[in-house]
Amino acid sequence: MRTDLKEIYLPLKARVVEIVDMTADVKLFRVMPEDAFNYKPGQFIMVSLWGVGEVPISITSTYGIHEYVELCIKRVGHVTSAIHCLKSGDIIGIRGPFGNGFTIGKTKGKDILFIAGGIGIAPLRSLINGVLQTTPPFNSSLDKGIPPLNSPLNKGGRRGVLQLIYGSRNPSDVLFNDELNTWQKKGMHIILTVDKKDTAWKGNTGIVTKHLNKLRVTVKNAHAFVCGPHVMIDAVMRDLSSMGMHEDNIITTLEAHMKCGIGKCGHCYAGGKYICTDGPVFSYGEIKRYNLKWP
């Protein structure tokens, strides 16, 4: 009998180091895995609570920048509610990182548009911090992970325009406020918008697609990374495509019910692809080609 079989379903222990209340139903968890691992933006891990269950969660931190693995989790049901009851010092289980992650080598010298809706900012944050840290020219070796600050990959070169359109339900739902400021200082154009404004809100309102007429990026040449609820993703992809952006340059992460993360349980299977292993990052072109939105 082989003894080298990896225990791929057995989670690794990780300690919750810090918990930040972000909004009424979103918390940021900083966790320290028992054994460190490398990951890239757009990848996810399976988070386990013994006796409760296991759910897929994007890694919102950036390897090489953040000390801990950071998870930004919205309370929506059984497992995420239990996760929200954790206290720092508690032990959770994690498996991963899984998924293909974002490929950013191709965006070298190009404009990049990020569009986030709600919790969709979580996977994008990992990418944005990576992109902002690595001054181009981007190199395809970036796709193996973001290099540390002092890496020669980070020297000089022209970067295209970076723009973020980020939509939230209410002003109180806006996540990573501090970081938004930092990003802006680093030269990113940011449009914040909310569905329902309150008296204090002076900014934009309405869904993200309403603001696609304010683009600073050159649509024909730009790459877009879009994360958020299904309906938003569909609308944004369609609009960007009709505005002339190349379908293969419109990138998103698809969500699916996931039970294993490794292409075995079948729950995420659509159009002949496993969202968990072939994705979760796909281009609009691929989504249409493979009919990933179910037949």
């Binding site: 379903y9 006796g51 296991e54 929506v76 995420t80 075995k264 349980c265 729950h267 179910w294």
Partner: protein, 343 residues
């Protein structure tokens, strides 16, 4: 590897009895309700040698309907991986073909260690089918009634003796020590096997061509109304998926025994169930039944060939026996061919 031998039928039970000392012996036996099922053999003479295709399929022994994966407690986790040595006797060629595909599915970049641990400790002896059932259609798929490779050990029933073909190291491992029970095959043995194969092929009642069905779907000429008709007849019982030797979907569940102790287990799930793709806050990619029935067929007829170069069906006919809506693989392939969905 391939090595052939002859085993006199009178030596079979002795051999099995010896093997049972080293490993669990599983074979076709009469179940409680009169049907024949694979189960642990207590009395070797009770093995049913000449039986129709077994429902359920042997996938149960590699991917159990319910499998405890690991336990958890304050002490940490404890893996329950099962690597008991087993000999499963009397499975059919279609099942062996299915297991060959399962090996590839559970392997790959992420090796499913629960499946693999069981598989690597299980030897299968299949018996070529001299008498196919009326529901069988492996003949058109190359997955039966006899195989030329891909098995651990294949028996061909030649009346008073078996032609024993050894197709893997696994297979060889249970024959080696007992070479005195086996003899060298003669040309006449191969002639007899050839006869058996020919006569078996002549007995098939069904001629199903899945490649035609695949081409028809790929041509784009199958309207959604066809699949709507299929979906209308589906009871969402999941029988097709549970009995299919190639359906592999599972769910993962935690069960607590106490506040601090429990087990994570997986159990068979089916893409035919409504909740299979449901996500939180009511996002529901395949809420409509037509999406689910269509997907089952697309997976087996289009995506499987893309991924593995083989259909996701070995023609065992179990879904034909099981499906109360008569929308089993053989029926749908036939209806795709004739282009209508009427009885």
């Amino acid at each position: 590897m391939k090595k052939d031998m002859i085993l006199e039928k009178s030596n079979l039970s002795y051999w099995l009895r010896q093997l049972r000392k080293e490993m669990l012996l599983i074979g076709p036996m009469h179940g409680e309700n009169g049907d024949i099922v694979l189960k642990t053999v207590e009395n070797i003479h009770e093995i049913v040698l000449d039986c129709p295709a077994l429902i359920p399929s042997p996938k149960e022994f590699l991917f159990p309907q319910k499998e405890e994966m690991f336990g958890f407690s304050t002490e940490g986790t404890k893996n329950y991986r099962n690597s008991k040595r087993r000999l499963i006797f009397g499975v059919r060629s279609c099942d062996v073909s299915a297991i060959g595909l399962l090996d590839r599915f559970y392997g790959g970049k992420f090796i499913d260690d629960y499946y693999t641990a069981r598989r690597e400790n299980t030897v299968f002896i299949s018996v070529g089918c001299n008498k196919p059932d009326p529901t069988c259609f492996c003949n058109g798929l190359g997955t039966g009634p006899f195989l030329s490779s891909g098995f651990d050990i294949q028996f061909s029933d030649l009346g008073d003796r078996y032609l024993v073909e050894i197709g893997s190291e696994h297979g060889l491992s249970i024959v080696k020590k007992f070479s005195h029970l086996f003899s060298k095959p003669q040309k006449s043995d191969y002639d007899d096997q050839y006869e058996a194969i020919l006569s078996s092929h002549a007995m098939f009642e069904k001629r199903i061509n899945l490649e035609n069905a695949r081409q028809k779907i790929l041509s784009g000429s199958v309207e959604d109304s066809f699949w709507a008709g299929v979906a209308e007849r589906c009871f969402e019982c999941g029988g097709c998926v549970y009995e299919c030797p190639l359906c592999t979907c599972f769910n993962v569940i935690d069960r607590k025994y106490s506040a601090i102790e429990g087990v994570r287990l997986r159990n068979w799930d089916t893409c035919m169930f409504r909740g299979f793709t449901k996500m939180a806050v009511n996002v529901w990619p395949a809420e409509k039944k037509i999406m689910r029935t269509k997907r089952w067929y697309f997976h087996k007829l289009l995506y499987y060939p893309e991924q593995f170069g083989r259909f996701g069906c070995v023609g065992c006919g179990r879904c034909t026996i099981t499906c109360p809506g008569r929308i089993d693989m053989a029926t749908i392939a036939y209806r795709l061919k004739v282009g209508n969905n009427e009885d």
